[in-house]
Structures are given as C-alpha cells and as structure tokens.
C-alpha cells in the first residue's frame, strides 16, 4: 500500500511539473487527481518496491536516451551508405529476468538498442524474440545483451 502511496506522490509531483507550479494547493490538487487516476488502474497496481523502482527508473531513462542516440546514429550510418548490405535476422533470446515489469523494461531497452527490436515474448516468458537489423553472429549479440542491459536490470531490481 505504501508503494501505491508513493506512486501517488510521484504522480502529484508530475502534475506539479506539468502544470509548472509547485504551490501547495496545486500539489494537493495534483495528489487528488492522481488518486483518481490511480483508482482507475487499481486492478493492475499490486504493491511492491516502488521506491527503488522509481529511483532507478530515472536512471534507466537516462540510459535509454544514451542508447537511443547511439542506435539512431547507427541507423543513420546504415541508411546513408550507398549500398545497404545487411544480414537481418530474428533471434531467440533466453530470458533470465522473469517479472513482467523487468521483461517489459528489458524489451523496451532492447528495442532502443542499436539494431535490435523486440518482437515477442514466449508464452512461458523464457524467451524474448528479437529482430536484429544485422546479425552476422547471433551469439555475440545475445551475449552483449546478457552482459549489458539484462545485468543492469537485475542489479536494479534484485
């Protein structure tokens, strides 16, 4: 329940940010509103370690942006070369993380990583299918992810 409360506070702050005034009234108002908003999604919101999760979410956001810039640059390089010569492929990535939130996080990170795009998660949540724009060697790509994002996420959420 505390987690819910914290989320609530955060959303109130978000409200403050969006409206651009952090006055007491506005924040209280924002709190009320976000309560209402959360009420709508109450079913999906269990309890959990929101605190850390939120703190690290910000960190991950930064990571996102960094990776995004990088991958965008790669794509640029690819599309502006006169002759596009790639070996695209869809690889099966064995997941270590198993929580929905973590899987989601990882999938999005992967999508925003150079040349990879999460297509699907297997029913048993063991495999993440990733489309790669250029995979001469699948295993190396898998390893990159394993040692890259997935570890980070495990650090963050375990």
């Amino acid at each position: 329940m505390t987690g819910l409360f914290l989320i609530n506070i955060l959303m109130a702050l978000a409200w403050g940010a969006v409206t651009g005034s952090f006055t007491v009234v506005n924040l209280v108002f924002g709190f009320v509103l976000s309560t209402a908003a959360l009420y709508l999604i109450r079913e999906q919101v269990g309890t959990g370690k929101y605190f850390r999760r939120v703190g690290l979410a910000i960190g991950l956001a930064v990571l996102f942006i960094y990776e995004l810039v990088l991958s965008a640059w790669r794509v640029t390089m690819i599309v502006i070369q006169p002759k596009i010569d790639l070996q695209p492929g869809i690889i099966a990535y064995p997941l270590t993380v198993d929580k929905d939130f973590e899987i989601t996080m990882l999938a999005n990170l992967i999508t925003l990583t150079p040349g990879t795009l999460s297509v699907d998660v297997s029913e048993d949540r063991k495999i993440l299918y990733v489309h790669c724009i250029d995979v001469p060697d699948p295993q190396s790509t898998i390893d990159d992810i394993k040692n890259g994002f997935e570890r980070k996420i495990l650090e963050v959420f375990r």
Partner: protein, 139 residues
C-alpha cells in the same frame, strides 16, 4: 494484443493520459484545450487501457455506464446556464466566484462547470462507442 509488455505499461500510460486530459481541460479557458479536447484525450486513454487490459477492466474502472457519464455531463452543462435566472439575467450568463485560497486565486465559474460537462459528455460518448465496438470485436 494482450502481450506482457503492453499490459505492463498500458495502465500507467492511461493514468498519465487521464491526468494530462484533466490538465488540458482546466487550462482550456486560457490556453489551447478545454473540455472537448480533454475529453478526447481521456477517451483515448480508456481506449488504450481497453485494448491492453480488456473492455471489462475499463467498465469496472469507470463504475457507471459511459452513457450515463455522458448524460450526466450534458445535464450539468445545461444546468450551468440556469443560475443567471435568479439574477434576472439571460440563460447561460456566466457567473464567477473568485476566492483566495492559501497562496493562489481560484476561479470557480459556470463556464468552467459547462466545460467540465463537455468533458464528461465526450469521455462518456466516445468511450461508449469504442467499448461497444471493442466488445463486438471480442465476442
């Protein structure tokens, strides 16, 4: 469409969009926005929520039937024009109630009530349509 990834993120997206819609509604009198646009955003939020988590979830979350929500909006929008009757003014003459609260001025006004009515109408009607179609989809 109900992939883990989508189902995990959608509720939060929806909640954020609802917040944003209210923000757009309330500032409409001074900046672009207002009841109609706000309502549309809220409706889109519910639509996303519905696509990700199912119509039943949406119905449960808004408790009342969306049509009643819309009707209620229309009702208060129409009532918002009535107070002027008692001040010997024409229908829909705006009444302003401006008071100081802690450190901010809060303006309550019949136009605002009216705009909120519009918001409810749009949310109700549009989501009612979307949900009805959605259900037909999944039956």
């Amino acid at each position: 469409m109900r992939t883990i990834i989508f189902r995990t993120i959608a509720p939060y997206l929806a909640a954020l969009m609802i917040l944003f819609s209210i923000f757009v509604l309330l500032r409409g009198h001074n900046e672009p926005g207002g009841g109609f646009i706000g309502g549309l955003i809220a409706a889109s939020a519910l639509a996303i929520y519905g696509i990700a988590c199912g119509v039943a979830a949406v119905r449960r979350s808004i408790v009342v039937h969306p049509m009643n929500l819309a009707a209620f909006g229309l009702f208060i929008a129409a009532l918002a024009g009535v107070p002027s009757l008692f001040l010997r003014q024409s229908f829909m003459t705006s009444q302003w109630l401006s008071f100081h609260f802690f450190d901010v001025d809060v303006d309550l006004s019949t136009p605002m009530v009216f705009d909120i009515g519009v918001y409810f109408v749009v949310v109700g009607a549009i989501s009612s349509i979307a949900l009805a179609l959605e259900e037909r989809e999944s039956d």
